[in-house]
Amino acid sequence: MADAKPAVPPGPPRRRIGALRVIGDLITVLRANPLTLAGFVLVALIMGTAVLVAGVPFVSGLFTGHSVEVLPYAPNQISTAVKQGPSLAHPFGTDNVGEDIFSQVLYALPLDLFIGFAVTGFALLVGGLLGLVAGYWDSPGTVGGFSSVAILRVTDVFLAFPSLVLALAITAALGRGTFPAILAIMLSWWPYYVRLTRGEVLAVKHLPYVTAARGAGVSDLRILRRHILANILEPLTVYYTMDVGTVLITFSTINYVGIGVPLTVPEWGNQIVLYQDFLLNLPWTVAAPGLAIFITVLAFSLLGDGLRDILDPRSRRALTRSAGSASAGSEEA
């Protein structure tokens, strides 16, 4: 067979158009799932707003020397329009000293989002890597087995405390400030990702296709990357996306308790603390940041749920097909 090469035309069997293809799939899936579409649009809106709010003043400051504000009012700008309900001038009303709640809520958005992504990103990276190592090299009596045990025992120490309590304790020890608060959540967040990743690796690593890849002479690192990581990426991504919301809630909780970010920094949790005394008289002051947290968490949860369908090739194909037939049907009608 090797000496007599059959006359196979060396034509391209398949062109890799990865990015385009993924975007195409994404559009079809989004059209088929209204809830995922809602999550996707909300997340896009939230991210876009955050970029505008944080980016425009910064970029304009760089180029023109004075920063152009996107928000109608500075977050701490007091005025005579005190205690006003929602109106066109103040969409979310004003507080007892005339500060515009709408501007405050939007001003806090970039910080809150950044914290959500930074904490989960750090947890995914550190926890994911440790989880991969602990899950894949776990034969007792080997170097890998020893490191696996070491990783898991350290993780267990962190997991022994509820994450919120641990985060509160670390913040209290580090003192007030934005950075200590972020660090505290990061330190209490990664152990969950170790456990999650390790569990997924353990579930996948003795599946026949991994054994088949080992039998084909694929090296360990490549098996870990291609055959294991590629197949556990889906649950990890879904968990990660949903977790952004959870981190937001934890961060706001720490601030609500009053040991996180200084009260002068606009942040949703801080705003709720500041205005809780006005809950009955000026309900919009508390409702607006609360609603902001609710919508952001909801958006990421919806997106995470939809990602599960998009990332799994089986359901992706099915979704694409049903979307195709649905649109074909509607055209006929």
Binding site: M1, A2, K5, P6, V8, P10, P12, P13, R14, S139, P140, T142, H206, L207, P208, Y209, V210, T211, A212, A213, R214, G215, A216, G217, V218, S219, D220, R222, R226, H227, A230, N231, P313, R314, R317
Partner: protein, 379 residues
Amino acid sequence: MTDPILEVEGLSVDYEVGAGRFHALTDVSFEMRPGEVVGIVGETGCGKSTLGHAIPRLLPVPPARVVGGAIRFQGTDLLQVPMWKIPMVRGTGIGMIFQEPINSLNPAFRIYDQLAEAVRIRLLRESGRAPSFHAGPTGFDYSRRPSPKPAEVLSHPFVPATVVERAAPVRRSPDVEREVLEYLKLVRINDPETILRLHPHELSGGMRQRVMIAMALSEKPTLLIADEPTSALDVTIQAQVLTLMKELMEEVRTSILFISHDLGVIAEMADEVGVMYAGRLVEFGPVADVFERPGHPYTKALLRSVPSRYKADGPLASLPGSVPNLSRLPTGCPFHPRCAIARPECAADPGPALAPVPSSPSSGHRAACRFPEEVAGLP
């Protein structure tokens, strides 16, 4: 006589499950020569698959444990090779076709990527860019590549930096694409250009099994271990796959260790056959001799259980009793409780380990029974 390509000597494997200890393989010894097809038959749970997985060291280390013996592949004892070097033997040296076609392909990748991975491994090793112990008929053959020397790789604490696998150059090359198509055509897949773009779940079981076979063959292994490659398929596809494998044996000149519980398939495929019972090799020899003149009562009973349309009257012959529990094997010969010619000494002493069968014309025909002459007299 040529040197054996594979010598398994006194191989014993235990499974440690909880507090229990199961002797999955006990003192298994046999040899394979280049170009030979050796069949292994036995009932479920007799250790066939354990043997197949133990040779390329694919057994999960807990619970399995190699207790003793040697697996010499082209003269090198694989049990002495450090574990991290074993992937260099697999694939191009010892290839493997697995039992479960349904789950043996990675669901996240297209067929092209799976096959390309195998082809890529072989091309990298052939061109000397990836380390391997893949070898010609005798010993490790590095003549085609400038570096490294086998001793260099074996004694080096790490893989020398010069031979560390580099993924990029071969991956998208037209060579890989051409070979992938070539092997898909070899396993008689219609319209390979379309199949390449599909994910495994879009193929039928028979197609997946053929893709698996294409993957194993595309690495041109010196020794191919086929672990029940056709058991999960229905008879028509089974016949196709077997015909295909026979044709491929001629084309690729590989030695095959063919594991199956189907005596008919073994008779069709193998030159030599080993019969396993309770983790032991109880008989080994040329297929014709073993099937015509069995030297072990278990082989005789196994052959008698094969349904035949010529003896339609009366119930199917079956062997009384069941396979012994591997954690509590009977003393002496493990088969004596079910054996018609057992005598008191069989229960006391295990008897000979694979002694030549005197009545057989072939010197390679050996059985682990002390009364091989009496086997012929059994019904």
